[in-house]
């Protein structure tokens, strides 16, 4: 056993350290298309103290560290580009406290969205959190770290906007509380009325610290939930439709999908509207408001509500939607990747045409999926392509299509979401120079040895 392995074993126990070929193979890659790079060690800690000790050891030995949740970003954010230690956080998966009346929860840094959803449904049926459509094993800390979105994003913004406090292990190994919890026993705010230091960590992909606890805002969970789909074949009208819908303030979530199959979906844009209510009357009132808001489009024959087949409703109402993962096997090949720039809703028509153009150019199966963020403040437009892992040519064509999306997104005024290292480089190059310098200052001061997820958000 090497000295480092021995030291790690002393911290987490021999069973939870590996430098074996099996773990270094698996943790070298994610399900997306980024090139693999092996870690030297993988550890699975159980406590905050263990994480601190690992970071201190890494600091002393100048070994890179990559904190990992479920590794589902698909863009290689937990691939250890410079080797070192991958810290799989998923044994730290406890729901620590729920403050029912203040509507927030504190969870450990490896807690999955699935576990929190189940926990709340069982113990606090009037509370919910913003569940993303990534697999249920995705962790809350990783999701806010990448500014993920979820079922409540149209109402309350990015999931990271719903953070109410953080506990972070700094690159030095020190433990730091962020938000109201830094001077109060209450974790109700990540910043205000103090300087908001959460921005030193959220969006940094672990390059500035490791989240060991997250407080997350919870929201009322209504007794009933339903879904409607408004369909149009005119992509140019989608931004106006979304504007009208968001004006009602009646919708839980707005997703738009467009895909070539089944053939009845071809060339249509499906604005999927989720509504909630405690009574039939509340649900009916919201439904009427929504229908009224789109009445003009119905009268002009530019769109209409689709009658949902019985099998489709439960699939849509699922949280998370398992069908998102199933997309990976459309070509019986177990792979999909998407680029999901955050972009103005007005750009929906351009994005929509672009994905069809690229799918045709590279002969790929596609799915366009947009999620409205805030009251139409922006959207995530997912350019998703499925590929067959056993077909290197198809994988290469998918890579090329995604490179084209990256170029298109920047040109269209979009900002990359959970960017690959190449996209990070492109973003940094295009960024305002003073912003770039500020990022460099932050990274250098927090992580002077450059051990935290190196390769990510590096400003040279």
């Amino acid at each position: 056993m090497s000295d480092i392995t021995l030291s790690l074993a002393q911290i987490v126990g021999e069973q939870y350290v590996s430098n074996k070929a099996e773990e270094t193979y698996f943790y070298a890659r994610d399900p997306g298309l980024m090139p693999a790079h092996k870690p030297d060690y993988v550890v699975v800690p159980k406590t905050v103290e263990e994480v601190q000790k690992i970071v201190r050891l890494a600091n002393k030995e100048r070994i890179p560290i990559v904190p990992m949740g479920a590794g589902m970003s698909l863009t290689g954010l937990v691939i250890p580009l410079k080797g070192g230690i991958v810290i799989d956080m998923k044994r730290m998966n406890k729901v620590l406290e729920v403050h029912e009346k203040a509507r927030y929860v504190i969870v450990e840094g490896g807690t999955s969205h699935g576990l929190l959803k189940a926990y709340l449904e069982k113990n606090y049926p009037r509370l919910r959190h913003s569940v993303p459509d990534s697999p249920a094993t995705s962790t809350i800390a990783a999701n806010v770290m990448i500014h993920g979105q979820g079922r409540l994003t149209q109402q309350y913004g990015f999931n990271s906007d719903m953070v109410a406090g953080l506990e972070v292990v700094l690159p030095s190994g020190e433990l730091c509380k962020i938000g109201s919890c830094s001077l109060s026993p209450e974790w109700f705010s990540k910043g205000a009325p103090l300087p908001d230091l959460s921005g030193l960590f959220l969006g940094w992909f672990g390059a500035t610290g490791i989240i060991t606890k997250v407080a997350l805002k919870l929201y009322p969970r209504k007794k009933m939930r339903d879904v409607e789909i408004f369909v149009t074949d005119t992509e140019d009208l989608v931004p106006d439709m979304v504007y009208e819908l968001t004006h009602t303030e009646m919708v839980e979530d707005i997703n738009i999908f467009a895909q070539p199959l089944p053939v009845i979906f071809k060339d249509n844009h499906h604005i999927t509207l989720f509504i909630t209510g405690d009574t039939d009357e509340e649900l009916e009132f919201k439904r009427k408001m929504i229908w009224d808001s789109l009445d003009g489009f119905i009268k002009s024959k530019d769109g209409g509500f689709m009658s949902l087949p019985p099998v489709m409703k439960p699939t849509l109402l699922e949280m998370p939607q398992q069908s998102v993962s199933r997309f990976a096997d459309v070509r019986k090949g177990g792979g999909f990747e998407y680029s999901g720039p955050i972009i103005a809703v007005e750009k929906y028509p351009e994005c929509s045409r672009k994905i069809m153009e690229l799918a045709s150019q590279y002969d790929l199966a596609y799915s366009a999926m947009a999620r409205i963020i805030g009251r139409s403040h922006c959207m995530m437009f997912g350019f998703a392509f499925t590929f067959n892992r056993a077909d290197p040519d198809m994988m290469e064509r998918t890579r090329k299509a995604l490179q084209k999306v990256a170029e298109f997104a920047l040109a269209a005024g979009g900002v990359y979401w959970k960017p690959t290292v190449d996209e990070q480089r492109m973003a940094i190059e295009r960024m305002d120079p003073n912003t770039r310098n500020l990022m460099k200052m932050i990274k250098t001061n927090l992580d002077p040895q450059g051990i935290m997820n190196p390769g990510n958000w590096e400003v040279h």
């Binding site: 070929a21 099996e22 193979y25 399900p31 697999p135 249920a136 993962s325 177990g334």
Partner: protein, 384 residues
């Protein structure tokens, strides 16, 4: 390798590790080891890497493959169309390893013992029926049912008690049955799950021939593992019999009052054996028995039926112990889940589960709070 056209299709999304409500991770080996490599997605990706020559058949790889308890939680919860084949894929990979002769020593020893002795304990065949010596259970001689015991019930001290109790209860209910005693041999379920398909076929064909010679039509099994292979595998080899797990025979007898039961006040939770539940869809029969006992309060654990956590004994681990012990071992977690339910008794319907959970009760030092009993043992206590 069989299923080679499927293995690359795993997206490693991780739904396979969960219960259906996502309340907890439910893959026994993932719970125990904590690395993604020990979860179904990890296995799929590593098998692919092994077939591609990117990793070797190392001790670690063997541990990863053979610590799978074949509990089928992944089959139940994987979201892809190939979910039904997941356990079969892991067994196929084991078969490849067995065929190349590079397997963990405990697996090798198990298979050798079965081959030479017809049982994993290296016990003489003529002692196979001794468990029944003090009972009135007859040798099979054209009875309505053959009562098939299996290796664990025939040789393991704790399991022999269960076998006697089940036999006695069925006799008391006037079920016409007989046993094979020293003519019985291993059913092969674990041999198959450990990947020794040639030996499995030999055992199965031997059993089928014997059953046919004796004109057996109906079989009651003590053990869900035998129940599984008799129902799932033997018909493919020409062994078509009516197969029942003993709870399936006992449930209607108790419900129709063929057995008179007195009050037995107890809070009981039922632990679903994987080879009765997830593999064969039988969740009701044991519960019907327990619910029919006056005074019994049947409490469900949060992780129950298709979401039940395996005891960790499946896939040969009962014999090989590759999954191993410790605080995170599935049998100890399962006992803690049972304690959380408020039950005083964990009811089981499988001798392997009984042993695994009793060991866990001892390791957790909670013997004063909870007891592990087979369903038939509870019935026996309630018999007037």
């Amino acid at each position: 390798m069989k299923y080679q056209d499927i293995i690359h299709r795993c997206f490693r999304c991780g739904y396979c590790k969960f219960t259906s409500d996502y309340y907890d991770f439910n893959c026994p080996s993932y719970r125990k080891f904590g690395f993604e490599t020990y979860a179904p997605g990890g296995r799929m990706w590593l098998i692919q890497a092994w077939l591609n020559g990117e990793i070797k058949n190392s001790e670690r790889f063997q541990e990863i493959l053979f610590s799978c308890a074949t509990c089928a939680n992944c089959v139940e919860h994987c979201v892809f169309t190939f979910s039904d084949d997941l356990v079969n894929i892991f067994i196929a990979a084991r078969e490849e390893m067995v065929n190349k002769g590079i397997i963990p020593p405990p697996v090798r020893d198990y298979l050798k013992n079965i081959n030479t002795s017809g049982n994993p304990y290296k016990e003489p065949a003529n002692e196979r029926g001794k468990w029944a010596d003090s009972t009135s259970i007859p040798a099979y001689d054209g009875h309505e049912y053959l009562f098939y015991i299996g290796c664990v019930g025939s040789y393991d001290e704790r399991a022999k008690k269960i076998a006697r109790t089940v036999g006695n209860v069925l006799i008391k209910a006037r079920v016409s049955l007989g046993i094979l005693s020293d003519r019985e041999t291993c059913d092969g379920n674990e041999v198959r799950s450990l990947g020794e398909i040639g030996l499995f076929q030999f055992l199965a064909e031997q059993n089928i021939t014997l059953f046919k010679e004796l004109r057996v039509r109906k079989i009651i099994t003590l053990d869900p593992h035998a129940f599984n292979t008799f129902t799932q595998d033997y018909p493919i080899l020409g062994g078509e019999f009516e197969i029942y797990h003993y709870t399936q025979v006992l449930a209607p007898l108790i419900q129709s009052k063929k057995l008179s039961l007195r009050d037995y006040p107890a809070k009981i939770t039922f632990h679903d054996p994987c080879y009765l539940g997830r593999h064969n869809g039988e969740y009701e029969a044991p519960r019907k028995i327990l619910e029919s006992i006056p005074g019994v309060s049947l409490i469900e654990m949060d992780q129950t039926r298709e979401n039940a956590l395996c005891c960790g004994g499946g896939g040969g681990n009962f014999f090989t112990d590759i999954l191993g012990g410790g605080e995170d071992s599935p049998n100890r977690i399962r006992v803690r889940q049972a304690l959380d339910s408020g039950a005083q008794i964990i009811a089981v319907a499988c001798p392997q589960c009984a042993k695994m959970l009793e060991d866990a009760v001892k390791a957790e030092e909670v013997g004063h709070k909870i007891e592990v009993l087979d369903v038939a043992e509870i019935v026996a206590r309630a018999l007037a």
